[in-house]
């Protein structure tokens, strides 16, 4: 059966697997919540156990998909393997993290329900049926489970975002500063401003016995730009994609308003990963596993981006940075149409082409020549010097 006799121990082990293999952030608090959640739901029903744990342990839609797969692997597959090798373990109930201070009847109930769960799992045929035929390779399966981890895929296939040093962050700050946007429509309290703030002046006058002595002012803060980085993940980009992700990570350090996507044959949002990378936390470039190393359908992916995220992310304050070599396998017309729409809906459209530094390179590839007319800033960023150059040359229509 399961590696441990009691439900709390299995739960703790399952959480440890999620933490180790899938980089979930599960602390003692989450574990405790999960244990409490299991006390509430009907343990004999696999779906409600799954729904309960999913609600507690996951934090985003991507996490939820990873969780579902891990749940199946942990609670169904491993059991199928071990069932063949060992006789059912005599289970004894030990107080777990969620059971302290709980009264006896309900403890018995949860014990009984746990037994039901085990029975239900033991008799369940659906998920286990194909596994029982080849239980010999249990050890291999265990390895396969580990290699499911997106974190491991990342180390082998996806580019490494190496340490972001101060110079990169400084260049990113310069880039953010360079994008000059007008004042926003909102009035905010400020030490010196253009408009008299009667309400706060009265408020301040309470300190001086109702006599207004210090006037207060309102000013309009500057509008903040939003950066959207779209990184081409096709094989032809090679390590340049890593550089582009590094640009995104450096920007994430300089401003909170950064969104990052990768695309090759399909589009994937990697904002969370980029943010984690920017703070030096473990990175999970999960969606890259499928998006990495294929040909590129730039036009189709940009159209997909416009459709799915355009409405929410694009506005006059958006700086869209596309990092691609422009080697497109799709129709140039699709790319042209997407670029036209993209240009219309953002403030600046920057294209980072790593090939631009190659002597004698002309952007004459079909895709590149289709995109070129709509690009406001066309540069290459292969190193820090290139990034600094970008931060000086970007032009913005405000």
């Amino acid at each position: 059966m399961h590696p441990f006799g009691s439900l709390p121990e299995n739960l703790a082990d399952f959480c440890a697997v999620l933490r180790r293999d899938h980089a979930f952030h599960i602390g003692a608090g989450e574990l405790l919540d999960a244990a409490r959640a299991l006390e509430i739901v009907d343990l004999s029903d696999e779906r409600s156990v799954r729904a309960a744990l999913r609600a507690v342990l996951t934090g985003s839609r991507d996490d939820a998909a990873v969780f579902d797969a891990a749940f199946d692997r942990y609670f169904f597959q491993r059991q199928a393997i071990e069932q063949e090798q060992t006789t059912p373990v005599q289970r004894e109930l030990e107080p777990g993290p969620g059971e302290e201070g709980e009264d006896a009847p309900s403890r018995q109930r949860s014990d009984a329900s746990a037994a039901e769960l085990e029975d239900a799992l033991g008799n369940g045929s659906g998920p286990m049926a194909p596994l029982e035929t080849n239980e010999q390779d249990g050890q291999d399966r265990f390895v396969a489970r580990a290699s499911y981890s997106p974190a491991e895929v990342e180390t082998s296939q996806t580019p490494d975002v190496s340490e972001i040093d101060e110079a990169w962050i400084a260049a990113a700050r310069a880039l953010v500063r360079r994008v000059q946007l007008g004042p926003s429509r909102r009035w905010r309290p400020a030490a010196t401003g253009r408009r008299f703030d009667l309400r706060r002046t009265i408020r301040a006058s309470l300190q001086t016995g109702g006599e207004a002595q210090a006037p207060r002012w309102l000013a309009r803060p500057r509008r903040q730009p939003r950066f959207i980085v779209l990184v081409d993940g096709s094989r032809s980009m090679g390590q340049h994609a890593g550089t582009a992700l590094k640009v995104a990570s450096a920007l994430a350090r300089a401003t909170p308003r950064v969104e990052a996507f990768t695309f090759s044959t399909s589009l994937a949002r990697v904002t969370t990963d980029v943010r984690r990378a920017s703070t030096g936390k473990p990175r999970r470039f999960q969606p890259l596993a499928s998006a990495w190393g294929g040909g590129t359908a730039i036009g189709a992916c940009l159209a997909d981006f416009l459709r799915r995220f355009g409405e929410r992310l694009l506005a006059g304050n958006a700086v869209v940075i596309v990092a691609s070599d422009g080697l497109d396998v799709g129709e140039p017309e699709t790319l042209r149409a997407s670029m036209r729409t993209l240009r219309r809906r953002c403030g600046a459209l920057v294209w980072l082409n790593p090939l631009l530094e190659t002597p004698g390179y002309e952007p004459t590839a079909l895709g590149m020549s289709a995109a070129r007319p709509h690009v406001t800033t066309f540069v290459s960023v292969n190193d820090l010097a290139g990034f600094v150059r970008l931060s000086r040359s970007v032009r913005f229509r405000s």
């Binding site: 309960a52 609600a55 996951t58 934090g59 408020r203």
Partner: protein, 315 residues
């Protein structure tokens, strides 16, 4: 309250929830943790909170987030003009300065904003923090503090603690990614578009007079439409609008012509109409598929003399 009860209670209020969602709600209520609901627009995220408040027979307090929302607007403000007036009027009184101060800075002069209101409410209310992704990161950090401590410190009065934790529903449209810290503090549920069966159930629950055939057709078409590369995919709100429009037009079923006439209820972007036109064949196939099984049980077109919208139980 267990998941099955939640499902029936929600069902009574014409809101259809599936088992996973009911379980998430059950746990959120039991663990007294905020529930973060994400999902596409128009699947009933906000509605969930409203119905939950009805089910729990408590107040719904709503904090609508927007860019530039600050702590003062969410928490409390002093009613300055009223304080000023009071200060002036009480100048001639014999009260000491301390007494006058205590009077001016009492709860009577406090304008409660949603968060403080939720904390001071006697029965635990349902606090809906709507579209939290629209507020900026600074506000999110502030929100974390309130959600963790459930207390608010007002310098002039002191610390106000919640007697009961409010039930918190947070919704997000994913305009931007929320911080890990906020996600960790909450339970998470992804509310997807409904399945075919769920959508039919929703249509019947909301519009009791709707004919079965029409409901099946609308739900089938919605499934097809959401699979198309539309700029703005229709949600449940759109299918309800559509069903209502067709009922008002006295249609008991949907044909190609009626579909084209009323497409504006569903697709709100001009380009999407082009997309729908390009996929007309698939969509009209969906019309046929959905109508076939109910044909024998439902009214037939040739015998239905304009009484299409009059619906009777057909079982």
């Amino acid at each position: 309250m267990d998941a099955a009860t939640i499902r029936t209670r929600f069902r009574d209020r014409a809101f259809v929830v599936d088992e996973a969602f009911a379980t998430a709600l059950q746990i959120a209520l039991a663990l007294e943790k905020p529930l973060l609901i994400e999902g596409p627009a128009g699947v009933g995220k906000t509605e969930t909170a409203k119905v939950l408040a009805e089910v729990l027979e408590t107040r719904l307090i709503r904090l609508q987030c927007y860019e530039g929302l600050d702590a003062m607007t969410a928490l409390y403000e002093w009613n300055y003009p009223r304080q000023m007036l009071r200060a002036r009027l009480s100048e001639t009184e014999d009260a000491t300065i301390e007494e006058r101060e205590a009077q001016i800075f009492s709860e009577r002069f406090l304008l409660k904003r949603p968060l403080l209101e939720a904390i001071t409410e006697r029965r635990p209310p349902v606090l809906l923090i709507d579209e939290v992704d629209r507020a900026d990161e600074a506000f999110e950090a502030f929100l974390l503090e309130v959600l963790a401590e459930w207390q608010v410190t007002i310098p002039e009065i002191g610390t106000i603690r919640a007697t009961h934790k409010p039930r918190v529903i947070i919704t997000s449209n994913r305009t931007r990614e929320l911080s890990d810290a906020l996600r960790r503090r909450c339970l998470f549920f992804w509310l997807p578009y409904p399945t075919l069966e769920q959508e039919i159930a929703v249509l019947h629950a909301r519009l009791p007079g709707l004919s079965e055939r029409l409901a099946a057709q609308i739900a089938a078409l919605m499934q097809k439409l959401r699979a198309l590369p539309l700029q703005k995919a229709p949600g449940i709100a759109e299918s309800l609008d559509w069903a209502m429009a067709l009922m008002n037009l006295h249609r008991d079923h949907l044909d190609v012509r009626g579909f084209q006439q009323t497409l504006g209820c569903v697709l709100k972007v001009h380009e999407d109409h082009d997309v729908a036109r390009a996929h007309a064949a698939e969509l009209s196939a969906a019309l046929g598929e959905a109508s076939a099984p109910t044909q024998s049980g439902g009214y037939r077109l040739d015998t239905d003399f304009g009484f299409g919208s009059v619906s009777t139980p057909r079982r």
